[in-house]
Symmetry: C2
Subunit: 344 residues, 2 copies
């Protein structure tokens, strides 16, 4: 039997900057003194219902519904977050000096237990295995590390860190906690890498053409943006680029007026920009609808200052797809694993 | 603009051995002279309806319904089949002498136009790029070769042949024609490879752990069988192996009594066995329900003489998954490609 025990388990405590909250005074002002109590009772009921719904909901990464949180104060509960981490030796040996000319790509992948998770992660790991100078941060949505996932990481020979982070119940279940945790970790652990690293958020069920890493991601000076296939009910979403090569909008049907109408797979950020922004975070935005504009709005940069990639190629290839694996396993056969390693 | 024109297009005419058919005399015998005409009229109507249904159906590889063909004579129309083929130079330089100790793996992949085809093929190509001594036969379900698919093959640096074969309307749309064509091609083109090659049928939307190629497929002496994940409404299907290591049945809920109750991804065949069987074919079985037992029943071998792989490992890993890509593209946005290369 191969050795796949967790000798290297270390515990880290990551302190996130607290986000101070307050009631929306504008909203309060429309209520008279007499309606104040009614307003408070309604708010308490609303928060209670939201929490019950969140607790009863399975932890999914891409639900079709999103939750709106009226009270920003609750976000501050992310401050004290505990995580289990397993990193391989090559991860601890990463030094910024080695990435003077060729930036390190830091890939952040939230993951969670589901029937198609193992094949999804195997495929992604086999794609990343073609890329040099890459560090993979995989963040488990849960208290414990998964043996099956850990074995995939070990076999890959990639430079990796695997974390288990319990989800903050105040965030949507679609990897918000995992990405926020990874962002904080990167800002602390890789602080001295500055311009020598680029951060890319890569979900485990997407499809990545190997060309995206060296042609697009590694060349990102501040923010790089590009087309993403089969996303948001469309064949693709892409940045709209004017004749001078400047991004002037977004080719999408889903709220194209947003400053960053872009999918998580459609951009990468130079670490230097993240460090300069200081407040870089997924959780400071008021409405927890889309994580992408939520983060990008904290970076003090406009879309006009982003780099568009791939729009001037012929043919115009798409190098990343928002794919999703399907399965048709019948509920009554869920337990039938014949002693094979199934991660459910 | 990069050169991706089809200079190497050559036309081949592949002659498949004809399968002689006849009306089932046993069935006719039960009809009296008076009912003969009624029987003929009914048969003509049935065949007409079947053809109309087939022609109106989109060409899908995995529909949930299958079609039963009452008249075997129609199968002989596969005899004269024309195909366009594009192979790279390394394909033409394959020689059996180079594979004395380490067999060539011939991977046969039927494919067809759909929204998720390009990411699926990119992922599969990036998996195969990890494997040495492999030849990839990709068979397009159609009259024409797809530019986008051809470019994936070119970029991969794999040894490949890409065929366009028009589907025989008398077969189900799930890659039967493509696999039958590829099988005939292999039996002719690789005839002198004999025991120095193994044939594996790998669909483009499945997930392959790179270990399957060298640990399982390349070691197949006659037929090798193994577990397949997320298939037939189950977490997995696998061969059932007794204490002596012999296959004595199939761990599945879908017709486990069949001699070969196994998915296409769950077996590989040594070329020598295919050549010896002579009648090796996908189309000689009466009922066109499952292609797997249809082929395997023509090989003059029993399940007890197959090699089971992976059942004696600890842990018991699954190395191939019957995955399927999903998409949620809205019909009204089908045409919205913003000049990016979309293969639909």
């Amino acid at each position: 039997m191969k050795d796949y025990s967790f000798q290297n388990v270390t515990k880290r405590r990551i302190n996130n900057s607290s986000t101070s909250g307050h009631f929306s005074r504008g909203l309060c002002a429309i209520f008279t003194r007499k309606m104040k109590w009614l307003f408070f009772i309604l708010m308490i009921i609303l928060v209670a219902i939201t929490n019950i719904l969140l607790l009863s909901k399975p932890q999914r990464m891409h639900p079709s519904t999103t939750v709106f949180f009226p009270i920003r104060r609750r976000l501050s509960s992310l401050t004290q977050q505990q995580a289990i981490s397993i990193c391989n030796q090559t991860f601890y040996h990463l030094h910024s000096a080695a990435f003077n000319n060729d930036r390190l790509i830091i890939v952040i992948t939230p993951t969670y237990k589901r029937f198609t998770r193992i094949p999804d992660l195997i495929r992604l790991s086999q794609t990343l295995m073609h890329i040099s100078k890459l560090a993979w941060l995989v963040i488990e949505d849960g208290k414990q590390i998964s043996d099956a996932v850990y074995r995939i990481l070990q076999r890959s020979n990639l430079t990796y860190c695997y974390f288990a982070v319990e989800r903050n119940r105040n965030f949507p279940a679609r990897g918000w906690t995992a990405r926020q945790f990874a962002l904080r970790f990167v800002l602390q652990y890789f602080a001295n890498f500055s311009n020598r690293a680029v951060v890319y958020f890569a979900d485990d069920d997407n499809t990545y053409d190997v060309r995206i890493f060296d042609k697009f991601i590694r060349k990102v000076e501040k923010i790089g943006v590009w087309a993403v296939g089969t996303v948001a009910n469309l064949l693709l979403e892409a940045p709209s680029v004017n004749e001078e090569g400047k991004v002037n909008g977004w080719l999408t049907k889903y709220a194209p007026g947003r400053s960053w109408a872009i999918d998580m797979a459609g951009f990468a950020i130079n670490l230097e920009l993240l460090l300069q922004a200081q407040g870089a975070s997924f959780v400071t935005c008021k409405r927890k609808v889309s994580p992408e504009p939520c983060l990008l709005s904290t970076l003090n940069i406009t879309k006009e200052n982003s780099q568009a990639f791939g729009y001037d190629e012929n043919p115009r290839d798409i190098l990343v797809w928002h794919t999703k694996s399907n399965h048709h396993i019948h509920r009554k056969y869920f337990k039938m694993n014949y002693e094979y390693l199934i991660d459910v």
